[in-house]
Symmetry: C2
Subunit: 154 residues, 2 copies
């Protein structure tokens, strides 16, 4: 699955605008790293981005890739898959359920909703493989983080 050139370029121009707005410097490394991610359709991990950027810019270091990616994430230009940070996490709940994921602290809370359980799977998704279940991930900021932010902002 290839990304259209226009869509990639659109992502890059958003990137430059955002960077300017945040007063952050646009360096060749950052541009190259972002270009890599912006055109990616495979949801790469850090190592993959690094390897790929390295073919075109052999001097970039792995930690620059890390720093750039976290910065992109903080700016909202890319998002993390799942809860993001931290080690592997487990879910002992084998019943149908759904998650509220906090984008700030990474906490995950279960919630139940029978309508969501019986969500109709779009044909688009059916085509990608053998579907076994659905989990709806509601993303936002949890109560605790909201309270903390309110305190700090006061």
């Amino acid at each position: 699955m290839a990304l259209s050139l226009e869509e990639g370029e659109e992502r890059i121009s958003t990137f430059v605008t955002m960077a300017r707005k945040s007063g952050l410097r646009i360096t060749p490394q950052r541009l190259e790293i972002f270009r890599e991610v912006a055109f990616a359709t495979e949801h790469p991990d850090v190592e993959a981005v690094f390897a790929s950027v390295r073919t075109r810019m052999p001097t970039v270091s792995l930690d620059t890739v890390y720093r750039t990616l976290w910065w992109l994430k903080d700016s909202g230009l890319v998002s993390l898959i799942g809860a993001g940070k931290g080690g592997t996490r487990f879910d002992p709940n084998t019943k149908a359920h759904h998650h509220f994921v906090c984008l700030r602290c990474g906490s995950i809370q279960d919630f139940y909703d029978s309508c969501l359980d019986s969500l109709e799977i779009p044909t688009q998704a059916e085509l990608l493989g053998a579907v076994q279940g659905v989990n709806v991930e509601v993303r936002g900021e949890c109560k605790l983080c909201l309270a903390k932010a309110a305190l700090e902002g006061a």
Copy 2:
């Protein structure tokens, strides 16, 4: 949010049954580790399970926890949050979209569906914090893994 005792015990008896069926030995460590995970409502990571089990069984080692958790995962008794294994992964797609997650290889593919984008957020979820978006995670086995399995099974 506490888990009802019955539900936890139910999970444990499922565990014992499953273990017997797979011909795997039920050791005190495994039972303790599974008990920990079965009653957890916080989607713990390995370190958290380890720390908690250790308070009741000070001799367990971290690697036993790892081994047991992977085994539980392979048996389908617990599932991994997100794609599971591997490092942090990024998603450069800032448009509303959804994921097909392969439970076998961990690959993630995007798909689009405007009905899902405008999914109504259940009150249950609204109560947990400030909602910013929804991502539907369709879980199953991807085309590639299905093909591989077919080859090996032949």
